[in-house]
Amino acid sequence: MFRMNVPSMIQAQRLSCPAPQAGATLSEVFPEPGAEAAAAGFVLAQLGPGTAPVLWIQDRLVQRETGRPFLPGLGLQRSLMLMQLSRPVDMMVAVEEGLRCKALAAVIVEIRGNPTAVSFTAMKRLALRTEASGVACWLIRQAATADLSAARDRWRIATLPSAPNSDDPHAPGDPRWRVELIRSRDRRPGAWVARHERGTKNRVDLVAAFPDGALAEDAGAVGQRVAR
């Protein structure tokens, strides 16, 4: 089903990156195994410009399995407050505390599996609080199944072979991901090939994954949910 595409052939479609204060919502990202770093990079690229700090809450298991954010590689303009907790209940409390503080740019949570603390009710609370305070909340659900949830946007992300490196043909270039919006309240679901340009621009270009735009048209009206 999935094909690599030539960017000149297809109609390039760039998702509007909403400013974090304007349309801040609760979003979930489900990385494929091995794409945990890609999910974090995608989330950080979605935050947009600014110098407001980020609260990053990590499960201890996540940290042991997939590492911790590494500042020299991220190249952020903002400061990063890292919190490492071991109980999912504590994590949800900490997220809620973080969402009260309007000075934050976003709260990013990395949690592993499907613990009972991350229930539909808990997610609903987070979603309401996010929309009340205007601080974006991103949940990166590692090794989890996409069960019932109140998240406004749900993404799935996988790694793709990187773009050609202009300096060295044998070296990996800009990272590329396959990004899929599987459920959204106010956007049309779809699948894209994302190319992350790091450095001064630090932006993610999203190019429709299907050259004929079949999915985009078949997906129906805005607001329809695609269950996978």
Binding site: G34, E36, A37, A38, A40, G41, F42, A52, P53, L55, Q63, R64, T66, G67, R68, P69, F70, L71, P72, G73, L74, G75, S79, L80, M81, L82, M83, Q84, L85, D90, V93, A94, E97, G98, R100, C101, K102, A103, L104, A158, T159, L160, P161, S162, N165, D168, H170, A171, P172, P175, R176, H196
Partner: protein, 486 residues
Amino acid sequence: MQERSGNALPDDLPQALSVEGTHGPVIHAVNRMAQMAGVTTGARVADMRALCPELRVDHADCDGDRAALERLALWARRWCPWTVAEGGTDGDCGLILDTTGSDHLWGGEAEMLAQMEADLSMLGLSSRLALAPTWGAAWALARFGPVRAICSDTACLPVAALRLDGETVLLLNRLGLRTVGQLADLPRLSLARRFARAAPTRTPLTRLDQMSGHLPEPVSPPEAPPVFRADARLAEPIFDPTHHLPDLCAALCDQLARTHQGARRLRLTVYRTDGEVSRIEAACALPSRDPAHLAFLFRDRLEKIDPGFGFDLISVEAPVTEALGTQQADLAGRTDAGLELSQLVDRLTARFGRNVLIQLQPAASHIPERAEARVAPLTEAPVIRPVQAERPQRLLDHPEEVHVLYAVPEGPPAQFQWRRRSYRVARYQGPERIAPEWWHDKPGTRLRDYFKIEDEAGHRFWLYREGLQGDGRGGIPRWFLHGVFD
């Protein structure tokens, strides 16, 4: 003052503290055993080690001693209201108490001195006490007089008892003047002329006058730090202190606002009717006197107190405060972002403990695991030139060894196994050689050659080979996975 809490050695081992002198470390203070072995204050550590090979030498913490002495001076106000810590950086420190009019409360002067010695020994401090009409005489008797001397004769004391510096004492001794009495018998005019060049407060004549009381030397104690504390005394015992907390915090904040202070530490103490006392402590990242915020810091922690038969006294105090001016909200009624952030840090720290929340900060090092420092939140980041080479977005806490399935002579392995899954390298970039930091690392630490590799499915890893073949620092170089690119 010589022993630091926690690591005091037994008294029967010779021990000394040292400070840095002009020609290497010199002895600052000794214990009794070292004194008996012949170790003298002011001598060089190397010489004293030759004299007493089993001497144990530690570095002296002069600033800490000074701070402890000032706390002790406040503690000593139980005997009289005028206490002052005297002595400078030279280590010859002591306490001066103006006990005029307060000795009868302790049953006389001799009983008061005995009581003081007993109380100080309860703190683990040995003391030498003396009572005299003037500061100078008390200083001299405490150091050179008999035990617990009360208004003894000072004429037979050596001239060093006059609080003179070493050169002046040496000169007086060379002139044949050994005791205070001999010095006092000299004509004042010739004594003044002989020491005309010395600083006027430190001449033997001034010191003699101060000792005899001809020159006044009053004791002017420093102000004790104010105590910020709000109490609620209850007629009937209660089981839940939550409802009293907002009022107590408001009263505390009123006290703080009067002196333009903000609380950095808070302590809630509840006294049970059966005499049990429990405490809860909280801390603020920035000084604060917002009653709602201070009350919030205790919110979920009151449940952990065992109420027993109820509480009848609740008190909130701020042991550590900092200056905080009055603040104005802007016209829209918003407060600034820094304040909100610090309140978030307080809430998270109060709930989850101090070490859970950290801020990541770049540090000046080429070794990847040292290029990132963990500091307390809300710390200003230092300006550090970032590394130009590409770094992964995630770093494993400990590099994990990979099992090389198919090695090639140049570059990274063509195929390797990590966490029981095998990866085939499609593209790679590198090597980037990072040499060990010889000023930190153990000798024999091997260099690392880092490669950014990508497999066919697009997983991008940061691998390194530790060491080189035949570098004389171990066997065959091993491969490790250290980070993941996004």
